[in-house]
């Protein structure tokens, strides 16, 4: 089912909330403040969190939601933890988050809020802490809806096909997914 939708997208939007980091070290010393995270989906698509000044305890807490475009060809989203030191901007650790970890599978179109954690590695490839994030894929908006809402013309529209293959025909499916709200749990 997911493959069917891929043909319709040139890009999707992903909401990634960068939560916190644990056990980060620079030159063997624990890093707790003046850190920020760069989230990158490809060369030109990236967002940065604010700098964490270290007021919130023993580990960096960014708790910042970043929204960025995920191009259709992107296989992974890169997270880079930076630290502003006296010697300049240093990269503490990076990780490549596969798009498959938060998209595809049963939950792909449901707007599910994924809570994910990853091992960070420094520039030499050594383990350097853990980063915690939550991710939600934007739910695609179908063209025909039951409710009378106005859609901006440039928005992506997807119809939910009902019945046999209907390529080239008008899609008149019931978009169960547009009404799906993860608060229904």
């Amino acid at each position: 089912m997911a493959k069917y939708y891929d043909n319709y997208y040139s890009s999707r939007t992903v909401e990634m909330t960068v939560l916190s980091g644990e056990d980060l070290r620079l030159a063997r010393k624990s890093v707790k403040k003046n850190t920020f995270v760069v989230v990158r989906s490809d060369g030109s698509n990236f967002r940065t969190t604010e700098m964490d000044g270290g007021e919130s305890g023993s580990r960096p807490n960014w708790n910042e939601k970043l929204v960025l475009d995920l191009p259709a060809h992107a296989q992974a989203v890169t997270l880079e933890v930076h630290c502003k030191t006296a010697f300049g901007d240093k990269i503490v650790g990076t990780v490549s988050v596969p798009v498959a970890d938060f998209s595809g599978g049963y939950l792909s179109e449901s707007g599910y809020l994924h809570f994910l954690s990853y091992r960070l590695r420094d520039s030499r490839g050594e383990k350097n802490g853990i980063i915690n994030v939550s991710v939600r894929m934007e739910v695609p908006i179908p063209e025909y809806t039951c409710s009378a809402s106005v859609l901006a013309p440039e928005q992506m529209t997807v119809g939910v096909p009902v019945g046999k293959s209907n390529f080239g025909g008008v899609v008149t499916g019931v978009p169960v997914l547009c009404a799906y709200n993860n608060r229904n749990f």
Binding site: G57, S58, Y106, Y118
Partner: protein, 581 residues
């Protein structure tokens, strides 16, 4: 702090006040005094108040209606009844509503059977305190039984049960229906109010020779009689004299009340378990709230005895404790989610590897004793299943076997226990037992022991249910006799499942050395890492070896189950999922 060696990783973790959890009891192997104490006393439970009313009671008196009273009992595992309390006597009514409420603690991990016996109190005793009444001098009107969980899963928290009266007469024993009793349960408010605090210290003293102290806090409460009971402890911060710990979450009920005296001690962590006291303060939660508002610090003090014969003096230190955050909120409890329609779905996977031994021989772990004595597998299924079945509305449980060769096939690491090829559920705990026994006759034990396939299957069921908008939380019980062969594949499956509404209970049976399996339990081994660099976002695995338990009230399996409400709540709270739509 005790002269025991605590395992380093376990000893450094926060216990008792961790985020969205009100108790996180530590490993059975850890000897640290605080951990042991919390394990035996710290499980959070909700206080429930039961209100009773009845209808259709029999008239015993000729000229007037009955004067009924209820005696409430709990039924122990061996069938004995223990009296909990009595209501007052309502005069002249066959449809009474009693005012006296019975308080009982809700323990998720055991089946709490309640027995209600209604008596008609004779007129001559009407001015006597109910506690003094001799029941054999009263008229027995009828008895009703139910479990506490049956009441708690109902949306209106009310359950009406028939009152029965076994009568012996010449015509033989039979039960007569003597009316109905309605039990209504309410969770007490103190269970729900949670305080979130961020504590920090300044100017702590150097306790280690060559480095700064590694401080952590222990919060204890002073109860009547002077005993000091630990409530929670923070994580250990290494090498820091100005520590600021992660937020602590405490329910008012854990502490007693907001005015309950608390002792907050700051220790320096030592790997050998002998932690040095850096200093302490004595404050109640209400005092801490005032401290937060005033933005002042409170100086720590340390008791010091000065020589022989001098009374214990206290030395006030330069170090200070600050309350950087103090918020009070009403948190939804596990019972709130049950009332809101959430359910727990029980799933079971059984190890059919050859190491169990030939099932036909009495020394096999899979031997079915003709006398009916359950083997280790049957005991584990029944101990966990009998508690969890109440929380599963359709009572249909997915059941799998792994590590065996079904009749004419290759070794399967995830086959349906009922022998079907397209339908993996069985009906009731009885259905699991039947399918298990029939599978023993129809498969050849093989190997190796792999958990990956059953965990992945359970995860896909959870994931599908979520996608369909279900309000279900899944509990997978894996019963195994041996150490898992491909540890990494199992870790990968667990890491992927940590983002789903799923908890995994692993029970080890037989005499194998399960040390390696403890790695899967984050309480003992730290966060699990997959082969692709992904880390488990929450702890979903609990492991316990089922040794033969001789006596003792709390079995090890119950200790396993006691953590489930916490895991459930952590999942719901981090995703901000509320009980009601």
């Amino acid at each position: 702090m005790g002269n025991c060696c605590s395992d380093d990783a376990g000893g450094r973790m926060a216990v008792g006040g961790t985020a969205a959890s009100h108790a996180n009891p530590n490993a059975a192997t850890s000897n640290d005094a605080v951990e042991n104490f919390l394990r035996s006393h710290g499980y959070p439970f909700s206080q429930i108040e039961l209100s009773l009313s009845a209808s259709g009671l029999r008239d015993r008196d000729v000229f007037s209606k009955s004067d009924p009273m209820v005696v409430i009992y709990t039924k122990e595992r061996d069938g004995t009844l223990v009296e909990l309390g009595r209501t007052e006597v309502v005069l002249n009514s066959i449809n009474p509503t009693w005012i006296t409420k019975q308080t009982i603690a809700f323990h998720f991990e055991v089946v709490q059977t309640l027995v209600f016996r209604v008596y008609d109190v004779d007129t001559q005793f009407h001015n006597v305190d109910v506690k003094m009444l001799k029941l054999d001098e009263q008229q027995f009107l009828g008895e009703g039984t139910c479990t506490l969980s049956e009441i708690m899963i109902r949306q209106d928290r009310s359950l009406t049960i028939d009152l029965l009266h076994r009568e012996e007469s010449n015509r033989g024993n039979h039960s007569r229906n003597c009316g109905k009793i309605t039990v209504h349960a309410e969770e007490s408010a103190s269970s729900k109010t949670t305080i979130e605090m961020i504590l920090s210290c300044s100017d702590l003293e150097y306790k280690d020779l060559f480095s700064r102290s590694d401080p952590f806090l222990v919060i204890s409460k002073i109860v009547e009689g002077g005993a000091v009971i630990p409530v929670c402890k923070t994580e250990v911060i290494k090498n820091e004299l100005k520590p600021k710990w992660n937020p602590i979450f405490l329910s008012i009920q854990q502490v007693g009340s907001k005015d309950q005296g608390l002792i907050i001690e700051c220790f320096n962590f030592n790997s050998n378990g002998k932690h040095d006291l850096i200093g302490k303060v004595e404050k109640s939660l209400a005092d801490l709230e005032k401290l937060h508002r005033s933005k002042q610090g409170e100086n720590l003090f340390i008791p010091s005895s000065v020589g022989h014969g001098h009374p214990l003096e206290t030395k006030v230190l330069k170090s200070r404790l600050f309350v950087d955050k103090f918020t009070e909120s009403v948190q939804h409890t596990f019972l709130d989610y049950l009332a809101g329609g959430f359910e727990l779905n029980f799933m079971v996977a059984i190890d059919f590897t050859a190491s169990n031994g030939n099932p036909r021989l009495p020394d096999s772990l899979h031997y079915i004793d003709p006398s009916g004595r359950p083997n280790a597998y049957q005991r584990a299924i029944s101990e966990v299943g009998e508690v969890l079945k109440f929380y599963d509305t359709d009572k249909r449980f997915p059941a799998w076997g792994f590590g065996a060769r079904p009749i004419d096939g290759p070794v399967s690491h995830c086959f349906y226990l009922n022998g079907s090829s397209h339908y993996y559920e069985v009906e009731g705990i009885h259905g699991i037992m039947m399918a298990y026994m029939s599978a023993l006759r129809n498969v050849s034990l093989a190997g190796p022991t792999l958990f990956g396939p059953v965990i992945s299957y359970a995860a896909s069921i959870a994931s599908q249910s979520l996608a369909n908008g279900g309000r279900k939380y899944f509990v997978l019980l894996i019963i195994t006799d041996g150490v898992v062969t491909d540890l990494q594949e199992t870790k990968d499956a667990i890491v992927k499942a940590s983002d789903l509404p799923l908890s995994i209970l692993i029970v080890g049976v037989g005499g194998a050395d399960f040390k390696e399996m403890e790695i899967l339990d984050a309480d003992k081994g730290g966060r699990l890492e997959s082969s692709t660099g992904r880390v488990a976002s929450r702890d979903i695995v609990q492991f316990v070896p089922l040794r033969d338990v001789h006596g003792g009230q709390v079995s090890v399996v119950q200790a396993l189950l006691a953590e489930l409400p916490t895991q459930f709540l952590t999942y719901m709270r981090t995703r901000d999922i509320k009980p009601n739509v």
